[in-house]
Amino acid sequence: MKNQKEIEYPDVALNHRSLPSDPELRVRAIETLLLEKKLIKTESIDAIIDLYENKIGPINGAKVIARAWIDKKFKERLLSDARSAIQELPYIGKQGYNIIAVENTKTVHNVVVCTLCSCYPWSLLGIPPSWYKSDQYRARVVREPRKVLSEFGLKLSEKIEIRVWDSTSELRYLVVPEKPKEADGLVEKELVKYITRDVMIGTALVKVS
């Protein structure tokens, strides 16, 4: 790594304003430049996109939750040290993040946001949905979470304490939902189907139909 102290940071960097207004053209211009300068390779672009489109996604998180529902000891470890607990699972892979698992109970409901940018547990949930990155969600969920959750169709009793986790550091929050009664007796593979992305962000409850 170069000595960054030598880099002069401008007050405002405005070079992006010389890009064309059509985003597709903008991207094409930068791509041409990066390839010409050999800063990136076509194969690497393909590989990254493939990774996100086909290999990681909320299914990873769902596997973690399903395991916790089935295995009490694993759930305990997940809640006390999620990172190492998740690393026990061969099908997920090493987690660089410090994952923090927060548990929904009869009296507590958790919901995750990043008001500063869009920090998100990518390795477990893939690319965040558009609404997670929207100004509306980021501005409002810390101030009026009940109203925001109701827009998702989730009306919580006033008695339930809402906990909003604003991901300001490199810690990544994962909501551990309650296992509904209807899910009793289902095997891990079946449980996974009901543990959706929104459930793990905290904007939905598990529905077993």
Binding site: M1, K2, K5, E6, I7, Y9, P10, D11, A13, L14, N15, H16, R17, L19, P23, L25, V27, R28, A29, I30, L33, E36, K37, L39, I40, A47, I48, I49, P58, A62, G96, T115, C117, W122, S123, G126, I127, P129, S134, D135, Q136, A139, V142, R143, K147, V148, E151, E161, D166, T168, S169, E170, V192, K193, I195, T196, R197, D198, K207, S209
Partner: protein
């Protein structure tokens, strides 16, 4: 951003999950995927760190910031970084923009635009792969070995600082959101010693600091503007905190 007024309801039209579908939307448009890939691949070059790239995204001029879509912000920040770090000159940037526009006008761009579907290539160079994985958080992480001991205990009442969180740089990068400045909270958990973005984003080194999750009541943060009682938890580095008066 957090707590700001003037936003309407969420737009959930395209994003409501049908049934129990367990997929993320991945990328809405092919160019979104490209931007995502460029950001990660150039990040993996190791010339700037994660906090620098966040700093560039967050310091876009406000009228660009609020109007750019998510991936436009990433692309704009990357463009600025490339020029700022002298990997690309302004002249080169202007030249390639001109060429791209000319190609488009003469119809040459259209074929390229209908890009072949990415098929993935498991054989890409291993060093590349590791570096990229690292930026994705598979390796690395922000925890650092340190002899620093945390100053605050769980349950202790603290106050967040107010004013200029970054003492080194005018209007410098910080991870203490405006809505949580000068507020009272309670230490919920100590999280170890982590790279300190306020320093790292400006090239002053990692300068790791103890990190805590701090619990705030919605009333303490937003007063009567909060809808009802709830709690907000924020991760705060020790320099953001002082003992409550």
């Amino acid at each position: 951003m957090g707590g700001r007024f003037g936003y309407g309801p969420l737009n959930l039209d395209n994003v409501k999950l049908k049934g129990h579908e367990n997929k993320s939307n991945v990328f809405d448009k092919p160019w979104h995927a490209k931007v995502w890939a460029f950001a990660h691949l150039t990040g993996a070059l190791g010339i700037w760190n994660l906090d620098v790239s966040r700093r560039f995204r967050e310091s876009l001029p406000i009228n660009d910031y609020v109007n750019f879509s998510y991936y436009e912000k990433w692309l704009a920040a990357l463009t600025n970084i490339l020029v700022c770090y002298k990997l690309v000159t302004e002249a080169e940037l202007n030249k390639v923009v001109e060429e791209t526009i000319n190609k488009q006008r003469s119809g040459l761009g259209t074929d390229e635009a209908k890009n072949k579907k990415c098929t993935g290539n498991p054989n890409w160079d291993a060093p590349d792969r590791i570096a990229v994985m690292k930026t994705l958080g598979w390796g690395g992480g922000s925890v650092r070995e340190s002899e620093l001991k945390p100053k605050f205990l769980n349950g202790e009442k603290v106050e967040t600082i107010f004013g200029n969180p970054n003492p080194d740089v005018k209007g410098g990068h910080t991870r203490l959101p405006g809505y949580a400045m000068g507020r009272e909270g309670i230490i919920y958990a100590y999280r170890g010693v982590h790279v300190f973005p306020d320093k790292n984003a400006h090239g002053f080194g990692e300068e790791p600091q103890p990190l805590y999750t701090v619990e705030f009541s919605s009333r303490d943060l937003f007063g009567k503007d909060a809808e009802a009682y709830h709690k907000v938890f924020l991760d705060c580095w020790e320099p953001y905190l002082r003992r409550s008066r």
